[in-house]
């Protein structure tokens, strides 16, 4: 029996679809114009709590199964590490003396060094469930000192590399925008030639990043494997933070800049621990000059 398209259950389906789609578009209209704000309580506590719970369950099972084989390898590693300890003690003494010499030279040259930044360690407990958006959820929030726009780094194979930045902060969780996100932009430079550009993600974790606005004249000096670092000019990321290495590059005929692919230094598919850097904000020129004027007046 052929169903009539405009009567019975079909009509109900059409009506429900029209209402639901109109409602969804209205919500989308308001949310993209920042008129309607997502309730932070629901997102922060309820959703964050569920994500933490599921992560705890999966990590419990994987750790229990892995613990048995780990015990065997721990014994072997322990004996090997004892031998390495003596070598490292010697190196530590040499490092201390080199560090003192470095500090003295910096003072002589009057270089300003970055103060030791506070680093907040966190776990990645969830990722974006879709393939169009890229976000990571970490298990630290405002209660641990995380702030919006804090840069995020990770350590892998002896390298400290940029991971992204915090875009939303709740009480106990935060959302991180990774550097492969389509909306991620950071001021960058080539470490060798010091030429400045901008790094941008392509939307996929396995796709390389794009280094933009590098002039064509740099093509002769550019080599595969050149290191790309943050320039610090956007005042969001500290300078000299490793982003990745140059992969392939080419010159488009009618473009004034090169098209450069950058392989990220950190493989985000295997990262579990990240660090949020508490970068101290630079003093504004007006406050610095006011401080000098008041100090001069009292003398």
């Amino acid at each position: 029996m052929k169903h009539d398209r405009f009567h019975g259950p079909a009509r109900a389906a059409h009506q429900k679809a029209a209402i639901v789609l109109a409602l969804a578009l209205a919500i989308l209209f308001f949310s993209t114009r920042a008129v309607f704000n997502i309730p932070n309580f629901f997102q922060g506590y309820v959703i964050g709590g569920l994500q933490k719970g599921l992560y705890a369950m999966s990590s419990f099972f994987s750790r229990t199964i892995g613990a048995v084989s780990e015990l065997r390898s721990v014994q072997k590693d322990y004996e090997a590490l004892l031998g390495k300890m003596q070598t490292y003690e010697t190196q530590a003494r040499e490092y201390a003396s080199l560090k003192e010499e470095n500090e003295r030279l910096k003072q002589l040259l009057e270089l300003s060094s970055l103060p030791d930044s506070k680093k907040i360690a966190a776990h990645i407990i969830a990722r974006d469930p879709s393939n169009t958006y890229s976000s990571l959820v970490i298990d630290k929030g405002t209660t641990s000192g995380v702030r919006k726009y804090m840069p995020i780094v990770a350590y892998q194979n002896g390298v400290e590399g940029l991971v992204g930045k915090v875009i939303e902060v709740n009480a106990t969780t935060s959302v991180v925008q990774p550097l492969y996100d389509q909306r991620f932009f950071a001021a960058a430079r080539l470490a060798k030639t010091r030429v400045e550009g901008m790094i941008n993600g392509q939307g996929y974790r396995d796709a390389p990043l794009s280094l933009l606005y590098i002039p064509k004249s740099e093509m002769d000096q550019l080599q595969q494997g050149d290191i790309v670092v943050t320039s610090g000019l956007d005042q969001t990321y500290p300078e000299e933070l490793m982003i990745g290495r140059v992969g392939s590059f080419k010159l488009n005929e009618f473009s004034s800049s090169l098209v450069i692919d950058v392989q990220p230094a950190i493989d985000l598919s295997s990262v579990e621990y990240i660090f949020a850097i508490d970068v101290p904000q630079p003093a504004s020129p007006t406050s610095a000059s006011a401080a000098e004027a008041s100090g001069g007046g009292t003398k």
Binding site: R5, K16, V20, A26, L28, Q51, A126, S135
Partner: protein, 156 residues
């Protein structure tokens, strides 16, 4: 399903692509409920997806509701089989989401991310979603009664 996608399946299956299991469940619910109850479920699931994702509120609600509406319309012209129809529904829904995401991106703001329709990643996601929909349809058939909306059951 959305929480599973965000946590246990967050690393993806192939090349980092996450199967859209929530979409499969939505298609099943919409296909077996001819009166449109699946559309409402899809809208609510989309709102939850928006809260879990970095997407603006309403984005996935719209995409999932549209896919559910098409699945409901399909239920009037075809019957479910084991492989072909579920696979085509899963892959077709992915294409619908890709096209609609482009339209939404053009209509609203640059803050909207859209699928890159002619990329290898989209092709892989299309196939993965088709296959996962086949599996979900087979599994959910055993618990079909929990997904069917029957107003008569609510009456005393």
């Amino acid at each position: 399903m959305l929480l599973l996608q965000a946590t246990w399946l967050s690393h993806g299956i192939l090349l980092g692509i996450i199967p859209n299991l929530a979409l499969g469940v939505i298609l099943f619910t919409s296909f077996i409920n001819k009166d449109g109850q699946g559309i409402i479920s899809a809208f609510l699931a989309g709102l939850v997806a928006d809260l879990l994702s970095a997407a603006p509120l309403g984005y996935f609600a719209f995409l999932y509701a549209a896919c559910a509406y098409i699945a409901t319309l399909l239920s009037y012209v075809t019957e479910k089989d084991f492989f072909i129809i579920p696979f085509l529904m899963g892959a077709g829904a992915t294409i619908v989401m890709g096209v609609l995401s482009r339209i939404v991106m053009g209509a609203f703001s640059a803050n909207i991310h859209a699928y890159q329709l002619f990329s290898a990643e989209f092709g892989i996601e299309l196939i993965i979603n088709g296959l996962s929909t086949v599996i979900l349809f087979a599994l959910l058939s055993f618990v079909r009664k929990f997904f069917e909306h029957s107003p008569k059951k609510a009456l005393p």
